[in-house]
């Protein structure tokens, strides 16, 4: 394992001499291996972003936990909490976004900042900002103000998804239509 071709170098420091043994192979493997590992890791996580950054991984963990919790709550009554959980599950939010972009953008704009209908990203709500209240507004509509009762066109599940998507707009505070209704 260790080369015995020890060479005593011809210098001497206060009586201390030195061999000039070659570097052990296994040591060199650790040295070069860790450098190569470092390069690969950097390219994987930083340069190409194939691996998830901690925050991204966190979001995924939260989404999975919400999904599991929703599954456990299946069959139970719909609550503020269940809608909030739904708003954390990307698949549900994406479905809601698709519905929103097809049906709602004429009045609320694609980013939800409001045009004919109110700004959905501020903290003010005309018909209540609680998850169940938002869902109710979508479901039954406000015919007097031109808000369609979407419950007649879409299944309750799709209304849930729409509400979940609207919940993700809450708090973005995008510039747009001035706040209407009551601050939450």
């Amino acid at each position: 394992m260790i080369s015995e071709k020890d060479i005593v170098l011809d210098h001497n420091y206060d009586g201390i001499q030195e061999f000039d043994n070659r570097l052990p192979n296994w040591w060199l493997w650790i040295l070069y291996g860790s450098v190569v590992f470092g390069l690969c890791y950097w390219l994987f996580y930083q340069t190409y972003g194939v691996g998830d950054a901690p925050e991204v991984r966190y979001e995924k963990v939260i989404a999975r936990a919400a999904e599991e919790q929703l599954a456990r709550m299946a069959g139970q009554e719909r609550t503020d909490e269940s809608l909030l959980l739904m708003a954390k599950v990307p698949a549900q939010v994406d479905a809601g976004r698709a519905l929103f972009e097809k049906n709602c953008v004429e009045c609320h704009l694609a980013d939800g900042s409001g045009k004919i209908g109110p700004n959905l990203t501020d903290g003010s709500w005309i018909h209540g900002g609680k998850p169940l209240e938002i869902r109710h507004t979508i479901d039954k509509g406000v015919p007097a103000k031109g808000m369609v009762a979407w419950g007649r066109q879409f299944s309750p599940m799709k209304i849930d998804q729409l509400a979940a998507y609207v919940l993700t707009l809450k708090g973005k505070n995008l510039p747009g239509k001035a706040p209407e209704g009551e601050p939450e």
Binding site: I2, D6, V8, L9, H11, Y13, D14, G15, I16, Q17, E18, F19, D20, N21, R22, L23, P24, W27, L28, I30, L31, S34, V35, F37, G38, L39, Y41, W42, L43, Y45, Q46, T47, Y48, A53, P54, E55, R57, Y58, V61, I62, A65, E68, Q69, R72, L84, A87, K88, G123, G129, L167, T168, K170, G171, N173, P183, E184
Partner: protein, 791 residues
């Protein structure tokens, strides 16, 4: 030797300075460990502070760490450097006067630290707690030491520098760089200052310093000492010169990058975290290079280990060095760190390094030196053996207890039940589960400490049987160096190729997905060219031996090697501040319930981080003074088990006005970043007076004295002005009305408590501390009655 005109002279080494530093090291080693035993006792019996503020854990723990590092190991390091440098250079130190200024200056620093830290005078940056006047003294004394050292290099009678001296040079040039950059601060009085950095920047600079204090204060000089004393004691040549060369340069170049591994999963930008992790892993081999050269030098001398206590201590010391430098990279792996950070595992790690590696190196060196410095024999080999076995047993007991405790903590904190919620939501549950391990740690510490006492007695008795003598040698004056000069050496192939490879690596680091392959190809080509060109083969050794004859060139190259990593990490984060947006910031929610609600609304005002109110600022300074950061973090990591327990994970924007940062590195108690609003004022009042009142099983000290101590209203204005200079947006009217605002906010808290039949002086320190604690993790709180009612 070579020159015919050489004349032989008889010289006497200054060994009195070595003796002085050894005794100082022994004395302060006993003190440092005694304080360690005391704080370990307090973690088992919280009453062990006797209710005295300056004996409380938060104030004594910095004293323990500073004393162990700078007093015990520091004095040992100076003893070793002064002894070996003179012999390796075949000359007496250039100036006895500077040597003694170094000695007395260093002891003055230690005494000043021992007085100021228990008084709560602190910057709260770990191992850099000392207040600014002492920092200035440290810088001056270090310069004195450096001047003396380099002057001695200049008058040497040895052509080349032996490997020990390379490590000393690296130490001497790096420590001031670290120390000065990390201690840049704006004084508000003779005893108080604010770090010029805030939040993320402060954290990065601090841990760049903290990690490299380990690297260049506890590692490089001790490696230099190892390279002298192990071959001496074993009577064997050093195992491999070329290993010395490779591991020296690799070690000092890589070490400086590794600091961010103390900040994994924090609000530090991810790229810096990744760099910290990867460079820590790359440090494994260079560190083990030192271990190999130490252990393999003992080949052919293993039989002496049975009889020679000196070699026994060295062998175990180097083994601990190998263990710690494997554990370090392991702990730097992000996923491992996710488990180990904030836990006792880290405590195990640092004690393996300090007590195992440094402590045993010190003991071996003392047992070798004292008989020689007093021209006598060791008083008792049996006592030395007894020291060896007690300390080995003690340190192992300590480390094993902390390993188990650390992993236990990590697992308790992250344990979830079948429904995905915390299995142990009460933090105290974890604490109670490891009480037996804290007893075991205390016992291990006491055993190690008793070994040190045995050593002290043995050394004193040895010295008494002999008399102080100074080493002598006949030396041949060194002929003028006629080799290649500075420019030639710096332009030579090894330097140019190394720099090009580093440049290529930096290019890979900053490249985009498209340019990365090109940068990578250039790097590989350069590496191949270097190998083919023989830059790393025999030619390199010849070049290095020329370099060893040129201390100035050697020092400049060392400085360049240690600056690269620091510049690459600090400049983008600290100087450019590109990583931390000022506004807008995400909403900061008050309680875990609302913060886990990712879609909660926030009003515009909550989007921007607002400065602390005057009373909160004073309260924060009390938090700093009491050393709360020693047990409490203010940094919630992006793990579900953390956000379930503490609320939404911490983001860089929250800390932009935190001079200094208070992220902490250890959770003996829970995280406090989102404490504000979690409990009523009454809870805090009761908790600070008797933590067990609200949290049965807690081991936190009582802070009753804060009730009676009044805040100093006069300091509010200068403190706010200092903060303003550092970029905190206080308006002039806010500063002028600071005292009034502080009074009314204090009155608000007192009124709230009065309604619950508690009398608290609105100008008491406790009121200020409660104001600060209630502000943590949320926006501005009302400071006047009108505002409070308006909400």
């Amino acid at each position: 030797m070579e020159s015919q005109s050489a004349e032989t002279r008889q010289i006497v080494y200054d060994d009195a300075i070595t003796r002085a530093f050894i005794w100082a090291s022994v004395l302060f080693g006993v003190v440092a460990l005694l304080v360690g035993v005391l704080v370990a006792t307090q973690l088992v019996f919280w009453q062990a502070n006797a209710g005295i503020s300056w004996l409380s854990f938060g104030r004594l723990r910095p004293l323990h760490t500073n004393a162990a590092i700078f007093a015990f190991v520091g004095n040992m390091m100076f003893a070793g450097i002064y002894y070996t440098t003179q012999r390796l250079l075949k000359t007496r130190m250039a100036s006895d006067m500077l040597s003694w200024v170094n000695f007395w200056g260093w002891q003055a620093i230690i005494v000043a630290a021992a007085v100021s830290l228990p008084l709560g005078l602190t910057q709260s940056k770990e191992y850099a707690e000392l207040i600014w006047p002492i920092d200035v003294l440290v810088a001056i004394i270090w310069v004195v030491f450096a001047v003396n050292f380099f002057w001695t290099l200049a008058i040497r009678n040895e052509k080349n520098l032996y490997v020990s001296l390379w490590f000393y040079i690296a130490t001497i040039v790096t420590i001031p760089v670290l120390y000065i950059v990390n201690n840049l601060q704006l004084p508000t009085s003779f005893l108080h200052s604010y770090s010029i950095y805030a939040g993320v920047q402060d954290a990065l600079v601090q841990w760049w310093y903290g990690h490299n204090a380990v690297g260049f204060f506890l590692t490089t000089p001790i490696l230099g000492i190892m390279y002298y004393f192990i071959p001496k004691a074993a009577g064997r040549p050093v195992y491999s010169y070329r290993l010395s060369v490779v591991h020296f340069w690799a070690l000092i170049f890589l070490y400086i990058w590794a600091g961010p591994h103390h900040l994994l999963y924090t609000a530090l930008p991810n790229w810096a975290q990744t760099l910290g992790m990867l460079f820590s892993i790359m440090l494994w081999a260079p560190s083990w290079g030192g271990m190999l050269n130490g252990l393999l030098t003992l080949r052919g001398a293993w039989d002496k280990l049975r009889t020679d206590p000196v070699l026994k201590f060295f062998a175990v010391a180097v083994t601990f060095y190998g263990m710690s430098t494997f554990e370090g990279p392991l702990l730097s792996i992000k996923s491992v760190n996710g488990l180990a950070h904030y836990t006792d595992w880290i405590i195990a790690h640092v004690h393996g390094g300090t007590l195992g590696w440094n402590g045993f190196m010190a003991a071996g060196m003392f047992y070798w030196l004292i008989p020689r410095l007093y021209r006598t024999k060791l008083w008792s080999r049996q006592w030395a053996d007894a020291h060896f076995w007690t300390s080995t047993f003690g340190i192992l007991m300590y480390i094993v207890a902390m390993w188990i405790s650390g992993i236990n903590q990590g697992l308790y904190w992250r344990a979830l039940d079948g429904e995905g919620f915390l299995l142990y939501p009460d933090f105290v549950e974890t604490l109670l589960s490891q009480r037996i391990l804290y007893h075991m740690r205390l016992l291990g510490g006491v055993i190690y400490f008793s070994g040190l006492i045995v050593m002290a007695i043995n050394l004193i008795m040895t010295a008494r049987t002999g008399r102080a003598v100074n080493g002598e040698a006949s030396v041949v004056a060194l002929p003028r160096n006629t080799g290649p000069g500075f420019a030639e050496l710096v332009r030579s192939k090894p330097v140019v190729i190394s720099l090009l490879i580093i440049l290529a690596a930096v290019l890979v680091g900053v490249s985009t997905p498209i340019t990365a392959p090109a940068a990578l190809a250039v790097g590989v080509l350069l590496a191949v060219a270097a190998i083919i060109g023989g830059g790393l083969g025999g030619g390199m050794e010849k070049w290095h031996s020329l370099l060893e004859g040129r201390p100035l060139t050697f020092t400049v190259l060392t400085l360049v090697a240690i600056l690269i990593g620091g510049v690459a990490e600090l400049i983008p984060t600290v100087v450019l501040r590109s990583e931390v947006p000022d506004v807008p910031v995400p909403p900061m929610s008050a309680s875990p319930e609302t913060s886990s609600d990712a879609v909660s609304a926030a009003t515009e005002s909550e989007y921007k981080q607002k400065p602390y109110s005057p009373l909160e600022l004073i309260g924060r300074d009390i938090y700093v003074r009491e050393g709360c950061y020693n047990c409490h973090s203010q940094m919630i990591r992006p793990f579900r088990f953390e956000t379930l327990r503490y609320g939404d994970y911490s983001r860089a924007e929250s800390y932009i006005y935190d001079h200094p940062f208070q992220w902490g590195s250890k959770r003996t108690g829970p995280d406090l970043h989102r404490l504000g609003g979690k409990y009523p004022n009454l809870w805090h009042y009761l908790h600070m007076r008797d933590p067990r009142n609200t949290s049965p099983g807690s081991i936190m000290p009582e802070y009753r004295f804060l009730t009676d101590k009044k805040i100093n209203l006069r300091v509010i204005e200068p403190k706010m002005r200092a903060m303003k200079k550092l970029g905190v947006p206080y308006s002039d009217s806010e500063i002028e009305g600071g005292v009034e605002t502080a009074r009314s906010q204090g009155a608000l808290i007192a009124t709230d408590l009065a309604a619950q039949d508690i009398t608290l002086d609105p100008e008491s320190e406790l009121a200020a501390l409660i104001a600060y604690l209630q502000r943590l993790g949320r926006g501005p709180q009302p400071t006047t009655l009108e505002k409070a009612q308006g909400r």
